[in-house]
Amino acid sequence: MSNPFPLEKGQLLEAYRRMKTIREFEERLHVDFARGDIPGFVHLYAGEEASGVGIMMHLEDQDRIASTHRGHGHCIAKGVDVKGMMAEIYGKATGSCAGKGGSMHIADLSKGMMGANGILGAGAPLVCGAALAAQKLGHDGVGVTFFGDGASNQGTVLESMNLAAIWNLPVLFIVENNGYAEATSVDYAVASDSFVDRAAGFGMPGITVDGTDFFAVYEAAGEIIKRAREGAGPTLMECKMVRFFGHFEGDAQTYRAPGENEENRANKDCLKIFRAKVTEAGALSDADLDAIDSEVMKLIEEAVEEAKAAPLPAPEELTNDVYVSY
C-alpha cells in the first residue's frame, strides 16, 4: 500500500525519530535523577511528544518558540542538540548553556529556541516580541508559546493574547493540557474551563485537538501556522494530552485516580498510536521504526556517558553569559 499521509516517508521517520528521542531522553532522566546523578529539578515531557513534534515539524529555524519548565521535548523537537542538552542538565561545561542553565533554562537561539522557562506563563510575551520582530522585518516567521493548563491563568498569558490580537501578530498559543497544574486538577483551577472560550474573548480563533494523535496535531498546526504566515494573526490551540510522570521527579502523584498512569501508558501513548497508524497503513514498517529505536537508544547512552565525563564549569565562568551589554 502507498503512503496515505501528508508527509513523505522521510518526514514520517523524522517525526518518529524526534518523538522517540524525547521519550528515551525523558525515560533516562527519570532513572538518572532517581539515582541522584542530576542536580536541580527536572519536569519530564514523556507522553506529550505528539504535541511538540506535530507542531515543530512545520517550523524553521527562523520561527521562534518559548517553552516551559517542562521544556526538554520542545527543545528536541525544535532541533536543539541532544548531547548538549544532556550535558546541560548534568550541569556540565559542554552543555547547551555552558552548564549554568540546567533543565529549566535550556536555550538555543540558532534553532529558534528562546528557552525553557521556570516562570509559568513567561514565554508568552517573549514570542509576542519575536512575532513582532518577524512582522516588522517582513519575513514570514511565527512565534509559538507553549504553556500548561495551570499557566493559562497567568496574567502574562492573557495580556499576551490581547497584545497578539490587537497587533495581529503571527503567534500560536499552545495550551498543553495534561489535566493537572502540578497536582491541581484543571476542573478546579481553570474558571472558564474552556481555553477555546478564552481565545474567543480576545477575538482570536481557538480549537481543541487530540494531543495524543500526532497526525491530528500535525494537520491542525499546519493550518494555523500557514494562516499566521499569511498574516491572519494569532490562534490558540489546546492539545489534550497526558503526562506519564509526575509534575516533577519525586512527585508521589497522590492526586491521580487508581490505575490512571497504567491506563495512559496502555491507551494514550502517542508513540504507540503513531506506530499503529503508520504500520497499519503500510507507510512504514516495524523494522523501520525499530531501527530508529536502536539508534535513539545509542544516542541517549552516548549523551549520558559524554555528559558524565564532561567537566563542570570553571568557577571563573560564574558571571559570564549572565549580563548583556546593549
Partner: protein
C-alpha cells in the same frame, strides 16, 4: 397539564468538546461558549419541568457546564424558584472526548429515559444515535454543521420533548422516523445521519473535512436547498426531504475535469466550487460501493474510516432507522388541544403547591 403521565425521565447530553475542531480556523465556524451551553441546558430544563418531566439524567463532563448548571439551580432554589426537574448526573468516567456522548447515550437508554436531548450538530447527533438504541432524540442546534438538528429555541424543544415523553401528545404526532446511512469496512460499522463523503485520501488527521479537491462521492439521507454542510450539494442539485424513503448519491470530480461546478456552502463560512458528475437515487437496503478503491469515509463531516483495495466496504441506506421528537407537530398538537392552557385558578394552585412563583 392534561393527559396521563407515562414517562418522567429525560436525558440531556451536552458535551463541551463538541464544535471545537479545526473548522473554527478554516471556515469561521461558530464557537458556542461553555456559559451559553449551560444556559441552553437550563432553558431546556424549564420546558421539561413545566410539562411534567420529573427527573433529568445528564452526561457528566469536566468542561464547566456542570459547575454552572448546578450553581444556577442551587441559587434559584434558594431564591424560592423551582423551575427545573431533579437533575441527576450519570456515573461514568469522563474522557473528554466524543466517546463520552456515546457512553452517556447507552446509559440513558438502559435507564429508560423517554428521550435524549442532544446539544450539538450533525457529528454529535450521530454519535448519540450510535449509542442510544431505540430511544428517541431531540437535537438542539449548537454544532458546526447543523443540517440534522433543526434551528429552534431550546426552551421550546424542552416543552415538546416533555409533552411527547409524558404521553400528552399522541405517538403519531410526537415522533418522526428517520433515515440513516450505514458504512461498513470489513467488520467495522459506522452510521451517518445526513451524509457520507468519500474522500480519495486514506488519512484521518484532524477529522473534519474542508478540502474539496479529493471528494469523490457523496451519499445523503436528505438535502435541503437551504442546508449547510456537504448535504447542501444535493440540496442545490436535487433536493430530498427527510421522509421520502430513498437517498441520493452524487459523484464528485475534480473541478478542472467537470462540466458543471456548483458553489456549495459545505461548512459555515466556506463556500467551495464542487465539480459535479452524475446524481443518482439510492434505494434502501441496497449495498453501494464508493467510486474509488482507496480513500476514507467522512461521516456527517468528519473522517472516521479509511479503506483500501483489500477491504470489503459498503454503504447502505436504512429507513425508519431511529426516532426523533417532532417538535413542530408536538407544539401544533399542544396548541390545537390546549395542552399548555389551563384554568387560571388551577394553575395558581399548582404553582403554589410546588412553591414556585
Amino acid at each position: 397539564m392534561k393527559g396521563t403521565l407515562q414517562v418522567t425521565k429525560v436525558g440531556i447530553i451536552a458535551n463541551p468538546v463538541s464544535a471545537r475542531d479545526i473548522r473554527r480556523i478554516v471556515s469561521h465556524a461558530g464557537n458556542l461558549p461553555i456559559n451559553d451551553r449551560a444556559n441552553i441546558v437550563l432553558r431546556i430544563l424549564t420546558g421539561l419541568c413545566i410539562t411534567g418531566v420529573e427527573e433529568v439524567l445528564v452526561m457528566p463532563e469536566t468542561g464547566g457546564i456542570r459547575a454552572q448548571l448546578l450553581r444556577t439551580i442551587e441559587r434559584e432554589s434558594k431564591m424560592g424558584k423551582f423551575r427545573f426537574p431533579k437533575v441527576t448526573y450519570l456515573k461514568m468516567p469522563v474522557t473528554g472526548t466524543a466517546e463520552d456522548s456515546v457512553e452517556a447515550a447507552r446509559q440513558m437508554h438502559d435507564q429508560g429515559v423517554g428521550a435524549i436531548v442532544v446539544l450539538g450538530g450533525d457529528g454529535t447527533s450521530r454519535v448519540v444515535v450510535s449509542g442510544c438504541g431505540n430511544t428517541p432524540i431531540a437535537g438542539v442546534s449548537t454544532g458546526t454543521n447543523n443540517a440534522f438538528p433543526e434551528l429552534r429555541e431550546p426552551t421550546v424543544t424542552g416543552l415538546a420533548v416533555g409533552l411527547a415523553v409524558t404521553g400528552q401528545v399522541p405517538f403519531k404526532y410526537a415522533f418522526s422516523f428517520n433515515k440513516r446511512l450505514e458504512v461498513t469496512v470489513n467488520d467495522k460499522r459506522e452510521i451517518a445521519l445526513v451524509d457520507v463523503a468519500v474522500v480519495a485520501e486514506r488519512y484521518i488527521g484532524a477529522r473534519a473535512i474542508w478540502k474539496t479537491d479529493n471528494f469523490r462521492d457523496l451519499f445523503v439521507t436528505f438535502g435541503r436547498p437551504d442546508g449547510i454542510g456537504m448535504s447542501s450539494i444535493i440540496g442545490l442539485l436535487a433536493p430530498l426531504d427527510r421522509e421520502t424513503p430513498e437517498g441520493r448519491r452524487v459523484r464528485l470530480i475534480p473541478v478542472d475535469q467537470a462540466d458543471h461546478v456548483l458553489a456549495a456552502p459545505i461548512a459555515p463560512g466556506l463556500i467551495e466550487d464542487i465539480g459535479i458528475g452524475s446524481v443518482e437515487t439510492i434505494e434502501p437496503n441496497q449495498i453501494y460501493q464508493p467510486s474509488v478503491s482507496v480513500g476514507s469515509f467522512a461521516l456527517d463531516g468528519e473522517r472516521e474510516l479509511t479503506f483500501s483495495e483489500v477491504d470489503a466496504v459498503g454503504i447502505r441506506l436504512q429507513t425508519d432507522a431511529f426516532r426523533t421528537i417532532n417538535v413542530l407537530d408536538c407544539m401544533a398538537y399542544a396548541a390545537k388541544h390546549g395542552l399548555l392552557t389551563s384554568k387560571a385558578n388551577n394553575r395558581l394552585a399548582q404553582l403554589s403547591k410546588k412553591g414556585g412563583t
